[in-house]
Symmetry: C2
Subunit: 510 residues, 2 copies
């Protein structure tokens, strides 16, 4: 019980039980929040305190390890922010989009390298995490393996929810930055780009796998389907960073990516149904298509009415957060509803952003969403990087080789299959077709979902699964620098806005 006894820092209850020193028990109020404050019946007065403490300890050894969870979330966030800033800044220095650096930063702190940020999803346990020994150290080794595991699980869960909130906020922000009228103007083009961008990689992937690699039809179709869905998060973030989100190309890409996301979910349903029964479940298919369209169009249509309600509410509120809170409530409700009808939560958030973009509160809202997005969005990108297991890329491991060879073919199709989409755009002379194609390249999460389902259901064998994972990783990492290159020489949104201003002020001056 001397000043450097670190054993009692984080788990005073357990420590006091082991050493029998009650005085160390109540040191950290946070650590005692889990005591049954209101529900517990007091133990008899004749019970010794040591016995009582032992009883409390039993309660405390339950599922809740709050103070350690908070401590480990704080540490993880510090790791996330270090990784994102270091990666982002270096990326920027070499003239690449910062988000690429955030992804790479995530890879460095994640499962592929430092193991600071690990997730049960990739099969990791507390023993695999490099953060847990730090927690164990400051608690003086007093934590049981089960307690450590429970802290690890809780911390991962909190981080995953933060990452999900991050991508919800990101898509809300992208929605705010997008212009519904612009988006409607390029609607047909975006739909065409999306459809071509789903059909070409789907057909290409399936045919190449069957023809060149003699893959059976069902696994080939499944792998082909995994090539379809563009990652709207990564693509829109890169566009925003490059200053081309509001360009015609940018709006076509974002619109197409949104439609693409819906198509990807439908394709997955079709393929899974095909794989199981040999035929397509038409009713389910129609339901999906109708509900998705109804949600997106309906929310935008009803949004026009909600718009006015939103402005009226924000004008009436007088306490702090009078603008951001109603906006987030709307975004969260929309995300929840999208999720509830089988779509992704982020689509709801995007629709909410689009709707609120139409109000005269837009600029003020934009400004308030920025810092929230600044602290939550990196959690998403660093997490994506941290979960990417780059060891499948190592050709020195014999088991990786077959997958690597197939991966080369899949990556080529994935890139070419999206590149051609630029030429699906009609009636837009002078449009940057390469940029549109490149913008559709990154695959992200949905591709991994295909790989996961395929592997777990036995449709995909190990090499094909690995090939899909490699395809997702490479398209995600390749697209940002390529997109920057494709947009080279084209004026950015700011530059155009400045030009517009210059012209209009020149007009006034003359």
């Amino acid at each position: 019980m001397i000043s450097l006894d670190l054993g009692m820092l984080f788990d005073p209850l357990r420590h006091s039980w082991e050493t029998g020193v009650l005085s160390s028990l109540p040191l950290n109020p946070w650590s005692l929040k889990f005591l049954p404050l209101l529900g517990a019946a007091p133990v008899g007065e004749d019970m010794s305190l040591t016995e009582a403490v032992a009883e409390v300890t039993e309660v405390a050894a339950g599922p809740d390890e709050s103070p350690l969870v908070l401590a480990s979330v704080l540490l993880s966030l510090v790791v996330v922010y270090f990784a994102s800033k270091l990666g982002g800044e270096i990326s920027r220095k070499v003239n690449l989009p910062p988000v690429l650096g955030e992804l790479v930063g995530g890879v460095v702190v994640g499962v592929s390298a430092l193991h600071l940020l690990m997730f049960p999803e990739t099969g990791a346990t507390a023993a695999d995490s490099a953060l847990m020994p730090i927690l164990q150290f400051i608690s003086g080794g007093a934590l049981s393996p089960e307690a450590l595991e429970s802290v690890f699980t809780s911390q991962s869960e909190v981080l995953e929810v933060l990452a999900e909130l991050g991508v919800i906020i990101l898509l809300f922000e992208i929605g705010l930055e997008s212009d519904l009228r612009e988006l409607t103007k390029v609607g047909y083009q975006a739909a065409l780009v999306a459809v071509v961008g789903v059909l070409v990689p789907f057909a290409g992937g399936t045919i190449v796998l069957v023809a060149l690699f003699h893959t059976p039809t069902i696994p080939a179709i499944f792998a082909g389907a995994a090539l379809t869905a563009t990652s709207i998060g990564i693509t829109s973030k890169v566009l925003s960073e490059l200053g081309h989100l509001k360009s015609k190309e940018g709006q076509i890409i974002v619109g197409a990516a949104v439609i693409d996301d819906v198509l990807g979910i439908i394709v997955l349903a079709v393929v899974a149904s095909l794989a199981k029964t040999g035929e397509v479940d038409v009713v389910n298919l129609i339901y999906l298509m109708v509900s998705a369209s109804a949600f997106l169009l309906g929310s935008i249509f009803l949004g026009k009415f909600f718009n006015q309600a939103f402005v009226a509410i924000a004008d009436k509120l007088q306490t702090r957060g009078k603008l951001i809170i109603p906006a987030l409530v709307f975004a969260f409700i929309m995300a929840f509803l999208a999720n509830a009808i089988h779509l992704e939560a982020i689509l709801g958030a995007f629709a909410a952003g689009l709707v609120l973009d139409e109000t005269d509160k837009r600029k003020e809202l934009d400004q308030q969403v920025l810092p929230i997005s600044d602290i939550l969005v990196p959690v998403f990108f660093v997490t994506v990087g941290a979960k990417a297991d780059l060891t499948v890329l190592n050709p020195a491991v014999a088991a990786n080789r077959e997958g690597l060879i197939i991966a080369v073919a899949l990556v080529a199709i994935a890139i070419l299959g999206k590149l051609v989409t630029g030429w699906a755009v009609f009636g837009q002379p002078g449009i940057n077709r390469v940029a549109i194609g490149v913008g559709m390249i990154p695959r992200g999460e949905v591709g991994l979902v295909f790989a996961g389902i395929g592997a777990a259901s036995g449709v995909l064998d190990k090499p094909l699964e690995a090939a899909i994972i490699i395809m997702v990783i490479l398209t995600t990492f390749i697209a940002p620098p390529f997109l920057r290159y494709a947009f080279q020489g084209q004026p950015t949104d700011d530059a155009e806005a400045n030009l517009d201003e210059a012209i209009s002020s020149a007009g006034k001056a003359s």
Copy 2:
């Protein structure tokens, strides 16, 4: 498998297992994130898909229910924001500090009334939560009680961490709003106020309990100790809302509340030690006092150097979040360190805010912290309200009566014991002594921790425990309107700033 089959909305895996329909399996990509993407060995190709799905389902039935956790966190946040805005706005309308309304809003949605926001801490299970039936409904009743319980536990854990991050951000903001030089100027006064505000309620509570209620000495000392610690979160938030945080009185209150918090932790250690061995563990006591002082003074001292590093870093960064991210990293590291040396995390965040207040980035940082604080801080206050079980206040329940009678005495001592602190201030003619005393009244969390430890260790019997809980609830709810009243007629921070400006511009004009 028709369009209104809600059974597959949130848990397609489980549903598909039960109905044997694979096509409903992959509808929601979020719900499949937990598949062992990278680690799973593929099942044999000859295994039927149904068998494979059953196997996947077994994996999925594990601890992770991510999509439902996200959905229930989104719903809970919507509830939190509704409660905080409704309560806050009504409170404002009747000229009370909004934070009081947020607390009351929390009470309405929490364990005392609507049961929308429940926490395992108060003994609640999934069956007690009014949100869980909503989740059960949209998943078509497909969730097992265990799965629902696991979602409830995870959701509560995420919300608790968000609330803790909220109070960390709040204290960081209060630190940013406070002026270190002003605080140092009133340092002695604050220390005196804190010491008087700990000693008087401690002694008063103990003596009254022994003399009037014939409580045995040890429980009386324990209950007396529970009267000591002011809730820095509630008090500083009210001060900020009233526009008196930067007044001399405001700075004395905040300074005293910080010292008070440290003293409260020390008192708890002393009392617990006394209760067990009959004597005080001097070594531990000295360790606590030294480490607490060293942390607070050391961080402020070293902060002067870190200040320059922070500005240099922020100036060098070029990507988004270049100011807020380094600031939060600093705040989170300080919170972690404070936690690690037995103090509360919020004290570290407050110290971090104080330090960064000294830089020329202060204004910009202030502005960026605002929206983050707007969305996280309500989670804290609504949660505090939601956890307060007001049923102990019901005199119709016979078991509550003894506690209520003791509570009347404790509340009186709690209020008077802090009110007198205003007269401990010396050498400050014309200072608002009543306001200082009232500002120290709210007790909050630490008092509940005392009640919890006391009850669990058997030192406190049920009526005494209930009395302490009532004391915490009442002082917390009484202080905000009283404080507003005490400050009436005194110019607010803004008014004073305007006056200063007017005087200086008048000086320039002449």
